[in-house]
């Protein structure tokens, strides 16, 4: 009896456990903690943050333009100052930052805005237009850094091998997009706190788009003067930045993780990598620039000095980036009034019909820069009256005068300084001590594109005239 009971229990027990199982176990694959969709506003803010961080960064795997422009110099690891962009795979870093971490979230943000059931049709159009302006802005840096880039086939997860589009064609398409975006901004307020630049102020975004359009027009001037003239004139007629209050400042947080990347790289890291470059700080000293003390700290002997480009330097001996700039909440500047006035000065010189004189715009530009960095109007008046600074008496052509002063004003914006330096051909920077190439007029394509997207890569590099750092890009005629 007992044995038969045992037999029954042994036979039935597994059946009981079987009953405890669910039939469909595929639901186990669903992660209940993973959000099924991310809010469009969160994607927007994240993309904006990465964009501002990338442009402000001093990370040697991402943004080394302050070094190329000889505004800063390195102390121990000096390969980037000597134009080596390969060892740290910097092109790959830029590519990932812009395509994967900025453009793609903006793209998804746009798609999610379009699906919104709470927003009005006009509000959706406006939100998408602002995200699109940010995308156009991002593509501007990609196309001026690499030349031909994936554009029409980019940001499509189903196409792993996008073709590269012609740089000038992309650039023209961006201008068209910017105009369409401007027309689509119809509501009075948008995005609110999701927008960490203007807090959703639509009026400011219109100003931003037109000011950026002016900048894009000027960048095109050497290659297609007619188009540039039309773009610049329509942008100026629609209204551009008129004071530092209009500046596009991305507000970095006081506490990690969303802080000023320069603070992360220079202060939080505890590293002693960067000092002033002799090229830059000596120019500030020679011309008696009031921004010298605002840009840099004093050196070991209480004066101002910088390290020679491309050489190893003592960290303690030289001036370092100022504490204003290395503060955790120092904002990331995306577009400012100062460069706008420089662009207007250039527009006047190129004979475009914009109001004002070149000298007036030029003076306003320098003044705006000095005041932005914390100088006084009195400083600015005195500085702009100096014979080697004043527009009437400074040396050279308008390209030289503007190029030189733009280089000084675009201090925390090495990427823009590099673009303007290539376009205006001033200032002429002496080569660093042991350069691995000539002055880089573009960046080579990422290694990942060479290996994975080989056919399209080969096509693009032959079309731009070789995937070399010294290949000149479409906007860089001279």
């Amino acid at each position: 009896m007992l044995t038969s009971m045992k037999k029954i229990i042994t036979a039935v027990l597994p059946l009981l456990f079987l009953g405890a199982c669910t039939k469909d176990i595929t639901s186990l694959n669903n992660n209940p903690k993973q959000p099924s969709s991310v809010p469009a506003t969160a994607l927007f803010t994240q993309a904006q943050n990465t964009l501002a961080s990338t442009l402000s960064s001093s990370n040697v795997y991402l943004n080394i333009f302050r070094l190329i422009e000889q505004q800063w110099q390195e102390t121990t690891y000096i390969t980037e100052s000597n134009y080596n962009i390969k060892d740290n795979k910097i092109p790959d870093g830029i590519w990932n930052a812009y395509y994967r971490d900025v453009l793609e979230p903006f793209e998804q943000s746009k798609a999610n805005f379009a699906k919104s059931i709470t927003l009005s049709a006009d509000a959706i159009k406006t939100d998408i237009a602002i995200a699109d302006i940010m995308q156009v802005y991002t593509y501007y840096y990609l196309v001026t850094t690499f030349g031909n880039i994936p554009y029409t086939e980019a940001l499509n997860i189903d196409n792993k091998f996008p073709k590269f589009d012609d740089a000038l064609t992309v650039y023209t398409a961006l201008l068209t997009r910017l105009d369409a975006d401007l027309a689509n901004i119809t509501t009075a307020q948008s995005l609110d706190n999701a927008d960490q630049i203007y807090g959703g102020d639509v009026g400011k975004w219109k100003l931003f788009a037109n000011t950026f359009k002016l900048k894009m027009g000027i960048t095109l001037a050497d290659v297609n003067n007619g188009k540039a003239k039309a773009v610049v004139e329509s942008a100026v007629a629609a209204g551009v930045f008129t004071s530092n209050d209009d500046n596009a400042n991305f507000k970095f947080a006081l506490n990690p993780p969303n802080t000023n990347p320069v603070w992360v790289d220079l202060v939080q890291s505890g590293r002693l990598d960067f000092i002033a470059s002799k090229t830059f700080i000596d120019q500030l000293t020679t011309s008696g620039d009031p921004r010298r003390a605002l840009y840099f700290t004093t050196d070991a002997s209480g004066g101002y000095s910088g390290g020679r480009p491309g050489t190893k330097n003592s960290y303690d001996a030289f001036s370092k980036p100022s504490t204003k700039l290395t503060a955790p909440d120092f904002p990331g500047l995306l577009l400012d009034y100062s460069e706008t006035e420089f662009n207007l000065a250039e527009a006047v010189e190129r004979g475009y019909s914009v109001p004002g004189t070149a000298a007036d715009h030029y003076t306003k530009a320098i003044t705006a820069s000095i005041i932005y960095w914390g100088g006084s109007a009195v400083n600015a008046t005195a500085y702009t009256a100096l014979p080697n600074v004043a527009y009437a008496t400074a040396t050279g052509t308008y390209k030289q005068k503007i190029g030189y002063q733009k280089w000084l004003a675009l201090y925390n914006r090495g990427w823009d300084a590099w673009i303007e330096n290539r376009r205006l051909d001033y200032p002429v920077l002496a080569a660093p001590a042991n350069p691995v190439s000539g002055f880089p007029t573009r960046f080579t394509y990422p290694v990942s594109e060479q290996n994975v997207n080989t056919v399209n890569y080969n096509d693009a590099s032959s079309k731009i005239g070789g995937d070399e750092v010294e290949t000149k890009l479409f906007f860089d005629k001279f």
């Binding site: 390969t79 390969k86 042991n434």
Partner: protein, 223 residues
């Protein structure tokens, strides 16, 4: 599979080309195949000798071919950590002296015309032998080796002794050593077997540790 890519030297008739500045020219792309972490073959020789109660055995491991990138020499040759970065130059003077005092180095290679390089460069600071002036390919080495992986010496106590110990039927005492000797290798200052990680990080050394050597004593009682 296992390809190592990076910047390479530029060659002319099999010789490294040196630029006008006296340093090696480098490829403009960082995508050149400069090595492969896979070995051509891996083998071992195991043998055991017995003489009366003594046993001796050894295992020799051999790896032929494959390459490894050393981040340690990439930086170490740069900063002057290794003896190759000092010493006498072709003039018989310490190479770390300034050129003006007879120092400096002429790196081996040819100029653009194929003539031997004659440009002397300073070796007063860092950089000459390391990553600052050399392509990635300069730090890729042959990862082959011949190693005495294991040696064992064992003694079995005689039955006449063991039989007195009641239930014990046998006692073996062995001394075993592992990773005793790298008989031959081509990678300087590190064990070619060491690698940063598996997967995509094979054939890449950074802060390489020596392989742990173990010496153990083994007493085996059979009941």
């Amino acid at each position: 599979m296992g390809t190592i890519r990076g910047t390479d030297f530029i060659y002319k008739d099999g010789q490294r080309v040196v630029g006008d500045d006296g340093y090696y020219l480098q490829t403009s792309t960082a995508n050149n195949v400069i090595g492969n972490s896979n070995a051509k073959w891996i083998g071992g020789i195991n043998n055991t000798f017995r003489y009366k109660n003594l046993t001796f055995s050894f295992l020799i491991d051999i790896r032929k071919g494959g390459s490894v990138f050393s981040l340690d020499t990439y930086y170490g040759f740069d900063t002057g950590l290794y003896p190759e970065t000092a010493g006498l130059n072709d003039l018989g003077n310490p190479s770390r002296l300034p050129i003006a005092q007879g120092g400096g180095v002429i790196v081996k290679g040819v100029d653009a015309n194929g003539q031997p390089n004659k440009v002397r460069v300073e070796n007063t600071g860092s950089g000459l032998y390391g990553y600052e002036t050399n392509p990635n390919a300069a730090f890729v080495y042959d990862a082959g080796y011949v190693k005495l992986r294991q040696a064992l010496i064992s003694y079995s106590f005689p039955q006449s002794f063991v039989s007195k110990l009641g239930p014990v039927k046998g006692i073996d005492l062995s001394l075993i050593g592992r990773n005793l000797w790298i008989i031959h290798k081509n990678l300087p200052y590190a064990d070619p077997e060491e690698s940063l990680s598996s997967g995509n990080l094979q054939g890449y050394q950074s802060g390489a540790y020596p392989t742990v050597r173990t010496v153990s004593l083994n007493a085996k009682f059979t009941f």
